[in-house]
């Protein structure tokens, strides 16, 4: 039964009772946390999926555009055209706390405000297909950044949910039953001790009375 030995004392009983109260409260709180995390996670993961599908489709079509662009001009010209980018993207990161999980929030800034700075080449030697290809990729970039944010959030939340779920289960199926068992064991043991000492006292009292008054001898004499 009780796998770990507990000493059946009153002090231990109080300790176990306190442990049970804490565990029960912790269990309730963690369960609430898990439920709320799960709700938010499911919302976010759906968004993640749609974003991912969108981004993958976008990149696929951008890649096709790049292949077409590449077909229209020589490899060297293409390499030279994209060699020295004019535009630069910076990220400002902060974190948002969702149910004690820190999830990243990205805010992106470009070095120049001009949207045409993505074309890092003169238009003399490149085909217009390249412009289209670069444009299609630029269009998908905001979604890609949003995807980076959401996907990371999902990964972090998933591992947090897993941890919380383990804790809830450990409390529910191990810690709480164990404390209850221990409490029962100690109460029974204490009751048993009390009964046995009660009986011992009664017996001793009988013996002392017998010693003092000699009831048995008097009874025999009367008979």
């Amino acid at each position: 039964m009780a796998s770990t030995q507990v000493t059946p004392t009153r002090m231990e009983l109080t300790r176990q009772k306190k442990k049970l109260v804490t565990a029960t409260r912790g269990h309730k709180l963690l369960k609430d946390k898990r439920d709320e995390l799960m709700r938010q996670f499911l919302e976010m993961v759906r968004e993640n999926m749609t974003l991912r599908e969108k981004v993958e489709a976008g990149i696929k079509s951008a890649n096709t555009n790049f292949v077409i662009a590449k077909a229209g001009m020589s490899e060297e010209i293409l390499r030279v055209a994209l060699m020295a980018p004019k535009q630069e993207v910076y990220l400002e990161t902060s974190t948002k706390n969702v149910m004690s999980v820190d999830i990243p929030v990205f805010e992106y800034k470009t070095r120049t405000a001009d949207t045409n700075d993505i074309y890092s080449y003169g238009f003399a030697f490149t085909s217009s297909d390249l412009d289209d290809a670069v444009k299609s990729l630029a269009d998908i970039l905001p979604d890609m950044l949003l995807l980076a944010e959401r996907e990371k959030a999902c990964q972090l939340m998933a591992s947090e949910i897993e941890k919380t779920r383990r804790r809830v289960n450990a409390l529910e199926h191990v810690i709480i039953p164990e404390a209850q068992r221990n409490i029962k064991y100690i109460t029974m043991k204490l009751d048993e001790n009390e009964r046995s000492s009660q009986i011992r006292l009664m017996k001793v009292k009988d013996m002392m009375l017998e010693e003092a008054h000699h009831y048995k001898e008097k009874q025999q004499a009367q008979a």
């Binding site: 696929k60 790049f66 630069e88 990220l91 630029a138 996907e151 990371k152």
Partner: protein
């Protein structure tokens, strides 16, 4: 202030250079793993990596899963979509819920 990196074979990623992302063309898995650790160590908050390359260094990518930064995101390469990115999303659902209840029918 963080930057964004793109990792993969040259043909899949050269377009991102025009947008202002830093591209790192690598094909060798060992080299890619080294590059990934270098990028993740500092100034890059988001690292896009092609699915083909990611498949070869999945273990290295897994190390960063629990950290807030960097966010390592798989993107399809020029050779096509392997479905690994979608698989990753399904994996996290599985991790959280226990089984894939959302996207299993697809």
């Amino acid at each position: 202030m963080y930057k964004i990196a793109v990792l993969g074979d040259y043909d899949s990623i050269y377009g991102f250079a025009a947008l202002g992302l830093d591209t790192f063309p690598v094909t060798d898995p060992a080299e890619a793993a080294k590059e990934l650790h270098r990028l993740a160590g500092g100034e890059y908050a988001v690292i896009y990596i092609t699915e083909g390359l990611a498949a070869q260094i999945g273990h290295e990518i897994g190390k960063y899963k629990e950290q807030v930064l960097p966010s390592i995101i798989l993107i399809p390469g020029v050779s096509g979509n392997t479905g690994m990115g979608i698989e990753g999303v399904k994996k996290s659902v599985e991790q959280a819920v226990g089984s894939d209840i959302l996207f299993s029918e697809k």
